[in-house]
């Protein structure tokens, strides 16, 4: 059995940054593994440890710089990695559809039984790639999974999905499937130092568009970024002073005033 985990190296801006053109200045960015993907990796590695005989492969779309981040996944127990990149991809403004075409081509190549992705990426936050890939490759899927059990023969995943308003949906998904993994599903491990050392010699295979049977059209996008600005932050906090009963009375006034409770 094979599990494919899609991972992304995400940018995080420093506390003080400046916008240059339509992006945050490169000097203000630090890169790290997407938080959601850390949980997806842990889920895959735990399945592999539980059942044995499972190969865990990670796939990422990213420049050479991202290899250090990918290696952390290898250090935590991913067996090998695929990195998709070339000049055409670098020149493109990748939207969900383009990423879907790239990952679908990787799935064609690898033929996994289970694909795990993070719910969303911490930087652009589309939150769509996992489900979009499932649709493209014709797998069943479950999004925002915060609890995962599997049948012993790995035919079915019993999942809890986190819905709005604190509601959970309990559902079964037959494999092959795509699950998008929510934070809190498990407790991602620290990479052991031995794991980090061994990861230095694990394979990170580089694929370009041509290697995946695609051409530059695959990363064409009708969407383009036209601007970037920092939204005005507004804070409207009211501080209450006095003894607890006085504060409670003031709070009650505010709630009435705002229409939260009736007169």
């Amino acid at each position: 059995m094979k599990i494919l985990v899609t991972v992304k190296e995400v940018a995080e801006a420093a506390d003080d940054f400046e916008i240059e053109g339509t992006d945050i200045g490169e000097q203000y960015l630090e890169y790290d593994l997407n938080e959601w993907d850390d949980y997806a990796i842990e889920a895959a590695v735990q399945l592999s440890e539980t059942y044995g005989d499972i190969e865990v492969v990670s796939a990422t779309i990213g420049p050479e710089r991202s290899e250090e981040t990918i290696r952390m996944a290898l250090a935590k127990g991913v067996d090998r990695a695929i990195r998709v990149w070339d000049d055409d991809i670098a020149a493109a403004d990748l939207d969900v559809a383009a990423k879907t075409r790239l990952f679908a081509a990787v799935v064609d190549e690898e033929e996994p039984d289970l694909v795990l992705s993070g719910v969303q990426a911490a930087d652009d936050g589309f939150g769509a790639t996992g489900v979009s890939v499932a649709d493209e490759i014709g797998f069943d899927w479950a999004a925002v999974v915060n609890h995962l059990d599997t049948e012993d023969d790995l035919s079915t995943a019993h999942v809890h999905r986190e819905l709005e308003g604190g509601i959970e949906e309990l559902t079964d998904v037959d494999l092959p499937a795509v699950l998008t993994i929510q934070t809190g599903l498990n407790e991602p491990r620290y990479a052991s130092l031995r794991g980090i050392r061994q990861a230095q010699s694990k394979e990170i295979a580089a694929f370009g568009l041509a290697d995946l049977g695609l051409d530059a059209d695959a990363v064409d996008s009708p969407i383009s970024r036209t601007g970037m600005y920092e939204p005005e932050t507004e804070s409207d906090a009211t501080y209450f002073d006095g003894a607890a009963d006085e504060q409670a009375a003031q709070l009650a006034d505010v709630l009435r005033e705002k229409g939260v409770v009736s007169e």
């Binding site: 290696r71 952390m72 250090a75 620290y190 990479a191 052991s192 130092l193 980090i196 050392r197 990861a199």
Partner: protein, 379 residues
């Protein structure tokens, strides 16, 4: 000349830093206040392969180099001097000598559990009447058949109350001076071994510092490390590596103190603006950065030379002298930048300040480092 850490070292540094920030930083002051050795932290460090970083893989270690070991020791020191001190004492003093001077059987029995992090190591050189003049020791080991009988008192022994093995220096030939000293692997469970005192200290209180008494402790002859009379040269060799680890730990203390001051000075406002914008405070923070960076460069240089097999007598003494002084100065300035808050235990600078002072004393005082460097310079 390349000043970048290799990728593997960077990844390990980042992962150890993450562990330190998540697991150690939140309890760092608490374990100091409680004078509690955090066993649970050392158990986790063992699971992450931290406890045997510079020990060969053959004996359960990570097989990393001294530079990697320095990077890890610095990260521990950046959040807790006490945990860092117990760590480097375990590694440089309790484990490394067994790897360097032990037989295969001794390594299998005594080094393997230390390197795997299942057990903790210590060593015992200093005595109540013997500090800088370390060879002037009163502890004796007398041969009796196929055993040695050890008698004496050892002072300021890091980890002794939590260790599973202690490398004890003792005189086997009183007539032979430096060449009359030998090293023995002592098990704290051996009859006659007693931890007489666990000291209350100015800082580093989560790391136990003990007085131990040896009262007719009988050990079989296979507990002799190396040959009789080799104890002093082993000590010199061990301390060369040990000094690099104290330099690394000191660099970590300085880094932790510097970061605390930098952050605080950017947030604290007086006269309507952050105090970091006043020249007096800015210059202090800049100098903290300068000293920390200098300490790290000297430490990494000494570690790299050690890994290259060069003589590191001068380099390791320089690194230890400079980094320990930097740690104390930077920590003192961090208290000053924090003002009244810096004097409270709600903020870490006072802890770094207390911890840093020991770095100028342990494993060779600053005065002894000057002596070593002076000799190396032919003075």
């Amino acid at each position: 000349m390349n000043f970048d850490l290799p990728a593997e070292h960077r990844m390990i540094r980042d992962q150890v830093r993450e562990f330190c920030e998540e697991e150690i930083a939140p309890i760092a002051q608490e374990i100091e206040d409680e004078h509690r050795f955090p066993e649970e932290i050392f158990e986790q460090l063992g699971q992450l392969d931290v406890m045997g970083v510079p020990i060969s893989e053959e004996y359960g270690g990570l097989g990393g180099d001294t530079l990697l070991y320095s990077v890890v020791a610095e990260e521990l020191g950046r959040v807790s001097g006490g945990i860092g001190l117990s760590y480097v004492a375990h590694t440089s003093l309790g484990s490394k000598p067994i790897e360097l001077f032990g037989t295969d059987e001794q390594k299998a029995e005594w080094l393997r559990p230390l390197a795997a992090g299942d057990e903790l190591g210590a060593w015992a050189l200093t005595e109540p009447g013997s500090g800088s003049d370390a060879s002037d020791m009163d502890t004796v080991a007398e041969r009796d058949g196929d055993e040695y009988v050890l008698n004496g008192t050892k002072q300021f022994i890091t980890n002794a109350s939590v260790a599973n093995s202690v490398l004890v220096k003792a005189v086997t030939d009183p007539e032979a001076g430096y060449d009359g000293i030998s090293t023995f692997i002592v098990d704290p469970d051996d009859d006659g071994f007693e931890v007489a005192t666990v000291w209350d200290k100015m800082g580093l209180n989560c790391s136990p510092t003990c007085e131990i008494s040896l009262d007719d402790v009988r050990v079989p002859e296979d507990r002799l490390l190396g040959a009789e009379g080799e104890g002093w040269t082993q000590t010199m060799k061990t301390l060369e590596g040990g000094r690099i680890s104290i330099a690394a730990l000191s660099t970590g203390l300085a880094q932790g103190a510097y970061e605390a001051a930098k952050e605080y000075s950017g947030e604290r406002e007086q006269f309507g603006k952050p105090i970091s914008t006043f020249d007096a405070v800015r210059d202090m923070v800049v100098d903290m950065h300068r000293k920390t960076e200098r300490a790290r460069l000297l430490t990494h240089k000494a570690a790299t030379m050690y890994d290259d097999g060069d003589d590191v007598t001068r380099a390791s003494a320089l690194a230890k002298l400079d980094a320990s002084e930097a740690a104390r100065e930077v920590a003192e300035d961090a208290v000053q930048v924090h003002g009244g808050y810096g004097y409270t235990t709600d903020f870490p600078p006072q802890r770094f300040y207390r911890d840093a002072k020991l770095m100028e004393i342990g494993e060779g005082t600053s005065e002894i480092q000057h002596l070593i460097i002076g000799r190396q310079l032919g003075l």
